[in-house]
C-alpha cells in the first residue's frame, strides 16, 4: 500500500534535488504530459478498484497518452490551432470522472464494512 506513495515522494524529491529546469518553450508540453500521466494514473486506480485492471492497458496507456498529448500540443503549435486545449479538456473531464468513480467505490466499500461491523 505504501510502496506507490514512496515512489511518488522519491520521484518528487529526485526532481527537486536535481534542480532540472526545462526551457520555457517546452513548458506547455510538460504540463500537458503531467496531466495525461495523472489521468492514466487515476484510470489505473479506478480499474484496479473495479477489478478490470490490465497491466498492458495501464502501462501502454501511460506512455501513449503522454506522447499523444505532447504530440497534439506540438501539432497545434505548428498549425496555429490551440489543440492542447482539446487534450486538457479531455484529460480534465476524464480525471474528474475517474476520481468521482474512485470516491464512490471507496464510499461503498466503507459503508459495507461499517455495515458488517455494526
Amino acid at each position: 500500500m505504501w510502496l506507490p506513495l514512496l515512489g511518488l515522494i522519491l520521484g518528487i524529491s529526485l526532481g527537486l534535488l536535481t534542480d532540472i529546469e526545462i526551457p520555457s518553450v517546452y513548458e506547455n508540453y510538460l504540463s500537458i504530459a503531467v496531466l495525461a500521466a495523472l489521468d492514466t494514473l487515476f484510470g489505473g486506480v479506478r480499474a484496479q478498484l473495479q477489478h478490470v485492471y490490465d497491466d498492458k492497458v495501464f502501462v501502454t496507456g501511460f506512455f501513449f497518452n503522454i506522447a499523444l498529448a505532447a504530440g497534439l500540443a506540438f501539432l497545434g503549435v505548428h498549425l496555429g490551432v490551440d489543440l492542447y486545449l482539446a487534450a486538457i479538456f479531455a484529460f480534465g473531464v476524464r480525471l474528474f470522472q475517474n476520481i468521482a468513480v474512485i470516491r464512490r467505490i471507496i464510499l461503498t466499500k466503507w459503508s459495507e464494512r461499517k455495515g458488517t461491523i455494526g
Binding site: G7, G11, I12, E21, V34, T40, F62
Partner: protein, 239 residues
C-alpha cells in the same frame, strides 16, 4: 499478482512525481526583473564601452608584437623575445620604473601630536583601501615604503605589525610612490585623491595623508624578492 500491480504503480508514480517536480522547478523559477533606471544603464554602457576600448588597445598591442615577431623572424627572434620578456617583467613589477607620477606621504596628524597620542602603525585595511583608490585611477606602479606592490603582494597584519610583501611597514611618516603612464593620468589621480574621502579615513586613525603634486619623474623601485609560483606549470611541448 497484487505485488506486480504495486510495483507498476510505484514506477509510474515515480515518473509522475519527477515530471511534477521538474514542472514545479520550471514554473517557480524567480523571474529576474530589470529594475535599473536609465542612468544605471547608461553607466553600465559607458563601463562596457571603456572595456571595449581597452580591449581594442590590447588587441593593437598584441598585433604589434606579432608584426614585430614576423619582421624579426629572419633577423633575430631572440631580440624580439627579449623585448617581450622585458615588457612582461615590467608589467609584473620586476623592474625599476621611472615615469610620471606622484608621491604620497603618510604622517602622524598634527592634532594627534598636539594631544600627545602615540603614533600607531597604519592598519592593513586602510592601506588596502588607499591602494584600491589608487588602482581605480590607473596608478599602475606603486611602492609602499620602498616595497613594490605586484599582483600577488600581501598586505596584512603579522603579530600586530602591518606588512607589505611580508616586510614590516615602518610607523609613519613614510612615503608611497605611484607611477602612472602619463602625466595626465598622474594629474587625474592627484585630483581624485584630493577630492576623495580617503583623507578622512586616515584622520580617524590619527594619520594625515599628504598628496604631493604630480611630477614628471618618479622612480618606483623594483620588486626584489623571490616570486613564488606554486600553481602555474610549464605545459609539455605541443599542448
Amino acid at each position: 499478482m497484487r505485488q506486480g500491480v504495486y510495483v507498476r504503480f510505484t514506477i509510474i508514480l515515480l515518473i509522475v512525481g519527477f515530471m511534477i517536480a521538474v514542472q514545479y522547478n520550471t514554473v517557480q523559477k524567480p523571474e529576474s526583473r530589470d529594475t535599473r533606471d536609465i542612468w544605471e544603464i547608461r553607466q553600465e554602457l559607458s563601463a562596457e564601452k571603456q572595456l571595449h576600448s581597452e580591449l581594442l588597445s590590447d588587441i593593437r598591442e598584441v598585433n604589434e608584437t606579432i608584426t614585430k615577431y614576423e619582421n624579426l623572424q629572419s633577423e633575430s627572434p631572440a631580440q624580439a623575445l627579449n623585448d617581450t620578456l622585458e615588457t612582461l617583467r615590467e608589467k609584473a613589477g620586476l623592474t625599476e620604473v621611472t615615469s610620471p607620477g606622484l608621491e604620497l606621504t603618510i604622517e602622524p596628524s598634527v592634532e594627534g601630536i598636539v594631544l600627545g597620542q602615540t603614533v600607531s602603525t597604519i592598519s592593513p585595511d586602510l592601506l588596502v583601501r588607499l591602494l584600491n583608490e589608487i588602482n581605480r585611477f590607473n596608478g599602475h606602479h606603486i611602492s609602499i615604503d620602498g616595497k613594490r606592490i605586484i599582483q600577488s603582494s600581501p598586505i596584512r597584519d603579522i603579530n600586530g605589525q602591518t606588512t607589505v610583501n611580508s616586510l614590516v611597514v615602518q610607523t609613519p611618516p613614510f612615503s608611497i610612490l605611484i607611477g602612472t603612464d602619463t602625466l595626465e593620468d598622474a594629474e587625474k589621480l592627484y585630483n581624485h585623491l584630493k577630492s576623495s574621502m580617503i583623507a578622512d579615513d586616515f584622520f580617524i586613525d590619527n594619520l594625515s595623508l599628504r598628496i604631493g603634486e604630480p611630477e614628471n619623474m618618479v622612480t618606483v623601485p623594483a620588486f626584489d624578492q623571490e616570486l613564488e609560483n606554486n600553481y602555474l606549470k610549464n605545459t609539455s611541448k605541443g599542448d
